[in-house]
Symmetry: none
Subunit: 200 residues, 4 copies
């Protein structure tokens, strides 16, 4: 009867994008308790519009998180066949930190743990990252006892570290990424006191 899958209306798509951007900023500034009303105001739409696009606040959070993870999954995929696996892994971590530098939303991840769309992109990220890490390990760029799970877990650490400062220099995270990456290198490595966690 109606043309199936009618193309998304231009203004609706624009509002969705505006909302995601506004929500990111609001969450970044106010933390997890940013309110839907403030997000709507920042996006320049009415409160009801938020719920038209994202039935619950959790759905909005999941949309933000899965978008961020998707970018990382794609980056990992792109770097997977780099000729220099060690450099590729470092670049991946650089991209990951840089993305988060702009908006740290790690605290949102716990709120979206069960969401299926988040799970899906996260699984993709795990798969792509595993290739990256395996190649870096095989090539001797990182220690033999480092797993994909280790890298995944440490991915956000540089950003978290600088967030303890009230006004960190914009690229300060690179300092801590360098330190951590030095810790991943084989030279002068001490044995690790605990086994790597199981891949999720």
């Amino acid at each position: 009867m109606t043309p199936p899958d009618r193309p998304v209306r231009a203004d609706a798509a624009r509002n969705r994008a505006l909302l995601l951007a506004a929500a990111e900023e609001e969450f970044a500034e106010r933390g997890p308790s940013a309110s839907v009303a403030d997000i709507a105001r920042r996006a320049g739409v009415a409160k009801g519009t938020v719920f038209r696009h994202f039935p619950t606040k959790e759905d909005l959070i999941a949309a933000i998180v899965s978008e961020h993870i998707a970018v990382l999954a794609e980056a990992a995929r792109r770097l997977a066949d780099s000729p220099d696996p060690g450099a590729a892994l470092l670049e991946f971590l650089t991209i990951a930190a840089d993305q988060r530098q702009r908006h740290d939303l790690t605290f949102l991840q716990s709120a979206s743990d069960g969401d299926p769309r988040v799970t899906e992109v996260r699984d993709a990220l795990h798969a792509n990252l595993e290739t990256l890490v395996d190649r870096a390990r095989t090539s001797g760029a990182i220690r033999a006892d480092i797993t994909e799970a280790d890298v995944f877990l440490m991915m956000c650490a540089p950003i978290h570290i600088v967030e303890n400062l009230p006004a960190p220099a914009p690229l300060l995270w690179q300092r801590y990424l360098a330190i951590i990456f030095d810790g991943l290198r084989p030279d002068g490595a001490h044995p690790l006191p605990q086994p790597a966690p199981a891949a999720p």
Copy 2:
């Protein structure tokens, strides 16, 4: 008529301690949105009593945070004259992570940034930690380009890292502390791309 200070103080001090403990547990379980009512219930006192001891929720948070920092300041002070500065620094980081492992309350720090009592103990921690780091650096246990600010900022990283897992093994953080500490060591160190932040 009644001795001016003693008898009530006993009760009051007990309640204060009960409240701090209950609040820690509640924040650890429920995150930053733990409610004053639940904290009061857990402590076995009435809601009003919470506000008698801590005029606002922020004050309660500041009290928890400053207590935690005080413990670390004292640990740093105690370790300052250790004969093995490298081992002393590692032990300090172990203590710090271990403390947070039991109750991660890092998310509370931002809520208590301006509080003067927090500032005071944090200054003390900075001072004591500086001694510790300086000696480790001088002794060659850590790189020449690592400052007290670096160590302070990275202090919580091992705990943050494992918190990305839903149910981390209790000692898993030791794995990441080891990796990071390897990164702090002079052997095989690469130059750091960014200068250390100014001491706060």
Copy 3:
């Protein structure tokens, strides 16, 4: 250019009927708080279409109610010249209850009290029912002190009564119609303590 009235009217009339049916079902299932969105979905049209046909939700309700009353008015008219006035009245009450049995929408009546179209068909029902009741009274099938207003008011009672049960047997209302009708009969009638209400 296009023939002024015909071609669209077919679609429009179909949609109107679909909407009325969907609304009836939705109100019956969900009660007075059934939402316009759900009604539209059930009818397979967009929300805006509901408001094209019925400018407000109240208008939609009034349309349903007046349609129901019109059916009753017609039934009363048809039965008005029956040779057995007592049986005719009982049949009218049976039809009325049976109609409501399928969809009890009595709760909608209060929402449509002022609507002129409702008033019109209700007046017709009153007129036709008056004939029916007058003839039943004159023929001795019911008491001398029963008026059209009485019958009109008691019309829905059998359905209301069974609605107090969670899952009434489909024909249980007949039991209570029989009891009430026995109360209308002249045999063994006790005088009534209050006068009949004025005809509206």
Copy 4:
């Protein structure tokens, strides 16, 4: 530690009563969609106070309903040993209608169907009413085929009937109670077309 079961504070008890009264009036005037805010305003308390006394709107409704049913259960109990069982039953129905005349809240019953407190008092009412009906039946005051379930279901009918009028005379319900009660009498009774429903 604290005196257990400390007596309810006078002002709290007063507020609870004010709220119940205000809620009854508000529901009677506005129907089931009366808002908690309006109820609070009518009672002269803040919105939050409503939720202190009744954790959800449903709890408030259940409290009203169970209070009403309790009054009826007590009335039935009191009338159970009357020397004239027929008159006792009629008086019970009169009390029931009179209570509802003041505030018809039948529509609230469905909202509180699952509540255990409501169930409890309703069970008591059923038990007491059964005695009343059994004695009336045995004494020949009502038909042999009328059960407690019948009377329970028909209890509200007189009020429902007059509610179809916009401004019914205050005692008009007595007219319909008389008609219905005549229908319950043995004289001139016709056999009933459907069996009585099972006792709930």
